[in-house]
C-alpha cells in the first residue's frame, strides 16, 4: 500500500442523480502503466478525471503521490503540477505558439526562468519529434502533431504521473501511430501512466495491467495476456468480441 503512486478506495461519483462511478478501488504502483478499457459511458474518463480532481469526488478516497486529492483542504494546484494530463481534444492554447504553450506553466508557476523553460521546451519538442514546430501556432499543426505538443506541454512540469484521456480518439487513423510511439517511449522511461484508450493493440503491448470497466464498476483486471487472451467475465468477453 505504502508504495502505491495512486491509491483509490471505493471512489464514487454522481452527476446529480446519475451515479457514474459506483465504488472503484485501484492501486497503481510507481512506474506502472495501467490501461482502462471499456464501452463508452462506462465511467473510464470520469474515473481518470477524478485522479486530478477535474471532477469533484462524491465519496471515497483518492491518494495521489501521498496527497489526499479527495480532501477539500489539499492544495490541489500543487498536486496537479505533479500530474500531467493529456486530453482527447488536445486543448492546446490556440493564442500561444507551440513553445509558449509548453513554457506557460513552468514560468507562471515560477518553476523555471524563461531561458530554462525554453531550453526544456526545445528538449521536449525534440523528444516528441517536433523541434521545427516551436514557433508554429496550434492551428497550423495536424492532429497528431497537436497531441504530441500536448504531451510535451504536460511533461514540462516534470510530472511523476501522466494521465491520458483517450489521447488518440480524435485523430485520423494515420496519425495514431506517432502519438502512441511517444507514449511507448514514456512508458519505457518508467513514467507512471494511467491511460483510457480504445487502442487495444497499445494496451496489449505497453500496459502492465489492463482494467476493464463497465457501468461504473471494475469488471475485471489483470495483465494484458489475462484480459485479452483469457478473459473470465462475460461482459469482458462480449466487449472484446466487439472491438477486436
Amino acid at each position: 500500500m505504502e508504495s502505491s503512486k495512486i491509491s483509490v478506495q471505493n471512489l464514487k461519483k454522481s452527476f446529480g442523480k446519475l451515479e457514474v462511478l459506483k465504488g472503484i478501488s485501484v492501486e497503481v504502483a510507481e512506474g506502472e502503466v495501467v490501461c482502462l478499457i471499456g464501452p463508452s459511458g462506462s465511467g473510464k474518463s470520469t474515473f481518470l478525471r477524478c485522479l486530478n480532481r477535474l471532477e469533484k469526488i462524491t465519496a471515497g478516497e483518492v491518494i495521489v503521490d501521498g496527497h489526499p486529492i479527495s480532501d477539500p483542504n489539499v492544495n490541489i494546484n500543487k498536486v496537479r503540477e505533479n500530474i500531467g494530463m493529456v486530453f482527447q481534444h488536445f486543448n492546446l492554447f490556440p493564442h500561444l505558439s507551440v513553445k509558449e504553450n509548453i513554457t506557460l506553466a513552468p514560468t507562471e508557476l515560477n518553476r523555471m526562468n524563461k531561458e530554462e523553460a525554453e531550453g526544456k521546451a526545445m528538449e521536449l519538442l525534440d523528444r516528441v519529434g517536433l523541434h521545427d514546430k516551436a514557433d508554429a501556432y496550434p492551428g497550423q499543426l495536424s492532429g497528431g502533431q497537436k497531441q504530441r505538443v500536448a504531451i510535451a506541454r504536460s511533461l514540462a512540469m516534470n510530472p511523476d504521473i501522466m494521465l491520458f484521456d483517450e489521447p488518440t480518439s480524435a485523430l485520423d487513423p494515420e496519425m495514431v501511430g506517432e502519438v502512441l510511439e511517444v507514449m511507448k517511449q514514456l512508458a519505457a522511461d518508467g513514467m507512471t501512466m494511467v491511460v483510457v484508450t480504445h487502442e487495444m493493440g497499445f494496451a496489449r503491448e505497453v500496459a502492465d495491467r489492463v482494467i476493464f470497466m463497465d457501468d461504473g464498476c471494475i469488471v475485471e483486471e489483470g495483465t494484458p495476456e489475462e484480459i485479452f487472451s483469457h478473459p473470465k467475465e462475460e461482459r469482458t468477453i462480449s466487449f472484446l468480441n466487439k472491438v477486436l
Binding site: 496537479r80 505533479n82 500531467g84 490556440p94 512540469m157
Partner: protein, 227 residues
C-alpha cells in the same frame, strides 16, 4: 452651402464640444471596461452572491433608460448625499456625473459581452490550464481572457460606438458636448436649424465610421494562426 457656412463659422465651438464628447466617451469606456471585466467575471465565477450582485446591477441598468439614470445620478444622488457635504460641483460637476452614469451604463453591457466571450471559450481550455497546476485566476488571465477578448472585440467596439452616441443623451444635465453645443447654436440662429443639426450629425457620423473601420482592422489583426 449653409452647412459649410455653419461649419466654418462655428468651427472652434464645435471642436471644443467634440473634445468634450470624446473625453466623456474615452473616460467612460475605460471605466466601463474595468466594470465589465469585474462583473463579467462575477457572472462566470460560479459564486452565488457575486453572480447575484452582477445580475442585479445588469438588470437595473438594462431595465432603465440612460436618461433616467443620468437624472438619478446627477440630481438624485446630490439630493440624498447633500447632508453629508457631497456636491457634484466639488468634483467636476455635471461632467463627472455624466461620466459616472455612462461608465455604469456601458459597464453593464460590457459585463454581458465579457461573460459571453468567456463562456464561448471551450471548457477544455480551462481544464488544460488547471491540470497544469495553474490556479483559477492565472488560468483566466493567461489562457481564457486573451482568447475571449479576441472573440469579443467586434462586440466591444460596437459598444464603444453606442456609448459614443449615448453621450448625446447626457447633454440633458448641461454638459456642452456636441449635441448640447448644437442646441445652443440653434437657439441663436433659428434660420439655420437644419444646417446646424446636419453638422452635428456629421461630426458623430465621422467618428463612428472611423471607429467601425478601426474595428475591422482590429478584427483582422486578432484572428491568429488559423488557416
Amino acid at each position: 452651402m449653409a452647412i459649410i457656412d455653419i461649419l466654418v463659422r462655428y468651427f472652434p465651438s464645435f471642436n471644443t464640444a467634440l473634445g468634450a464628447t470624446l473625453k466623456l466617451t474615452v473616460i467612460s469606456l475605460l471605466m466601463a471596461t474595468v466594470l465589465g471585466v469585474v462583473f463579467g467575471l462575477f457572472k462566470v465565477s460560479g459564486i452565488r452572491p457575486l453572480k447575484l450582485i452582477a445580475n442585479i446591477y445588469i438588470d437595473i441598468i438594462r431595465g432603465t433608460p440612460l436618461m433616467v439614470q443620468t437624472m438619478i445620478v446627477f440630481y438624485g444622488i446630490s439630493q440624498v448625499l447633500r447632508p453629508l457635504g457631497f456636491s457634484w460641483g466639488n468634483i467636476g460637476g455635471a461632467y463627472t456625473a455624466g461620466a459616472v452614469t455612462l461608465s455604469l451604463n456601458a459597464g453593464a453591457y460590457m459585463a454581458e459581452i465579457i461573460r459571453g466571450g468567456i463562456e464561448a471559450i471551450d471548457k477544455g481550455q480551462m481544464e488544460a490550464a488547471r491540470s497544469l497546476g495553474l490556479p483559477y485566476g492565472k488560468a483566466m488571465r493567461k489562457v481564457i481572457l486573451p482568447q475571449a477578448f479576441r472573440t469579443m472585440m467586434p462586440s466591444i467596439i460596437n459598444q464603444f460606438i453606442i456609448s459614443l452616441k449615448d453621450t448625446s443623451l447626457i447633454s440633458i444635465i448641461g454638459i456642452r458636448e456636441l449635441t448640447q453645443n448644437g442646441k445652443i447654436i440653434a437657439a441663436n440662429s433659428a434660420s439655420m436649424v437644419m444646417a446646424i443639426w446636419v453638422v452635428v450629425a456629421l461630426y458623430y457620423l465621422v467618428i463612428c465610421t472611423m471607429l467601425s473601420k478601426v474595428a475591422l482592422v482590429v478584427e483582422r489583426k486578432v484572428s491568429y494562426g488559423k488557416q
